[in-house]
Amino acid sequence: MGLYIVRKVCLTVPLLMVISFLTFILNNLSPMDPAEVVLQAQGVPVITDELIAQTRAELGMDQPFLIRYFQWLMACLQLDFGDSYITGEPVWSLLGPAFLNTLKLTLVSIIVIIGLSIALGVICALKEGGLLDKSVRGVSFFLTAMPSYLLAGLMTWYFSVKLDLLPTSGMDSYRSYLLPVTVIAVSYVGIYFRIVRSSMLSNLNEDYVLYGRACGLPEKTITLHILRNSLQVAISVFGMAIPVLLGSTVVVESVFAWPGLGTLSVKSILSRDFPMIQAYVLILAVAFVLFNTFSDMMNAALNPKLRKDL
């Protein structure tokens, strides 16, 4: 198992290299010259070719591609993603706090999502075809189909405006988390609990369940065995859900004025703030790789067959 973890971690290194390279290339493929963007942002009235060349030299754009890449990569490793083209501030001073805020929201949401998905999935699988199973599936279908901005709007109107129980926006206390977390969780739980449910159901018909029962094992023990085998699918999905959430909270963030990544990234993309976009894409990609590796490890801990191959 120890060796498996070491191997998995080593494998992420080349993957991360490729990702960083692609991130760098993508920005360089953009049709607009970065120097022009900077000059426009600084409000320079007349942009001459001379000025552009001068700015290019200042930004280090005149150097060969690969050298620029390595310089950028080395800097990135020290969390120095350069300065924003628009505000001139270091990227990390803007992105760092926003990233932390989004991470907090994401982690709280994912804990709620995982907890609820497993609980609902197990209950529905054990009571398959029953009233509870049918109603949970029905309601979840309805809620998942609702776009999150609509749900967010409705919930803000009811809980914050009408009942005046929760803050409408911002990030002040734990109470600020309730609405955004609920809105995010609702749209994901509806999908994920079905994954847990269906894999529980397919395991329920396995022979080992029958043999366990035939040997007189109590239902609780059997359910734990089933859960352990069912979770393997779910864990891979949950592992991918964290980075997906990190990158897709933008709607919820803007509705609840959450000072997070989503709002910042959209702003940067619209103003072609390349260093910001690069850093944002890189951070998300790294998050993807890390959480995916983590879920692989969890799965290996659960499933002995996975530990061998690699």
Binding site: D207, L210, R213, C215, P218, H225, R228, P304
Partner: protein
């Protein structure tokens, strides 16, 4: 009373479709004897076995009396039934590969199971298991206990289930096609273990199979099922020499034709006849 298990008017049906799987069957197993249930796939053999254990899927209902040592299992609550399962009625499944939780070492399964039925310490359990595993010719029992199901062969897993039955010392063993999923050599070994198991413990057995060669070796009595109906029952000798029902004669004759063909190809004594 020499009938250990007496099943009368057992009816099994699928509640969702209303389809009757077994309309009305009655049979009994004598103390210490082995009853074989034979028949083609889908004839209701497995469902009948599971009905005795009350382990059919939720949608499948059953009615009728199942008298086990004078007690009607049909009237027992799920909780009381659970205490009987394993300890008194032990089941051995067809596919050893799938009968154990793939994520746990086989030892976990055994220890959990024994802990439910006995107040033994962990060491006691291990010693007994070790002894039982040696009985079924499994070498290095402790190493086997620490292996995952996918690391063991089908025949070994089948013998592990037999070993568990040896430790549990049930009154009746219900073996649901225990040799079907095995290759001929493992099949031979497993059947050998079944015969020795009966000699050692003198327990009764229901042996489901469609392999008449195996049935001939192990069973005292045979019950032939077709489409959920018991078409014939009798002693093994009677069934194999003078079957009354057309279907039984058909089964026996196909078996004979097969082994005859085999003899012709191989020349000399057929392996299947041994």
């Amino acid at each position: 009373m020499d009938h250990l298990l007496e099943v009368s008017n057992l009816k099994i049906w699928d509640s969702s479709t209303g389809k009757v799987i077994v309309p009305n069957s009655s049979f009994h197993v004598k103390q210490g004897s082995c009853l074989a249930i034979v028949g083609e796939s889908g004839s209701g053999k497995s469902v009948t076995c599971k009905a005795v254990m009350k382990l059919n899927k939720a949608g499948i209902r059953q009615a009728g009396d199942i008298l086990f040592k004078g007690e009607n299992l049909s009237d027992l609550s799920e909780k009381d039934m659970r205490k009987k399962r394993g300890k008194q009625l032990c089941m051995i499944l067809q596919n050893g590969m799938r009968a154990f939780d793939p994520s746990c070492v086989v030892g976990t399964h055994f220890l959990q199971m024994l802990a439910v039925h006995f107040d033994w310490s962990r060491d006691e359990m291990t010693t007994k298991l070790k002894h039982a595993m040696e009985c079924v010719m499994l070498k290095e029992p402790l190493a086997v206990m620490n292996q995952y199901p996918h690391q063991l062969s089908g025949g070994m897993l089948q013998r592990l289930m037999i070993a568990l039955a040896i430790v549990l010392e049930p009154d009746i063993i219900i073996a649901d096609e225990p040799t079907t999923a095995l290759d001929t050599i493992s099949q031979y070994e497993v059947v050998e273990q079944f015969i020795r198991l009966r000699e050692r413990m003198g327990c009764s057995m229901i042996f489901v199979s469609h392999d008449l060669g195996v049935v001939k070796k192990i069973a005292d009595e045979v019950l032939v099922m077709k489409d959920g109906i018991i078409v014939e029952k009798g002693t093994t000798r009677a069934i194999f020499s003078g079957a009354q029902h057309e279907y039984t004669r058909y089964l026996v004759s196909t078996k004979l034709a097969l082994s005859h063909h085999f003899e012709q190809i191989m020349g000399g004594v057929s392996v299947a006849e041994r």
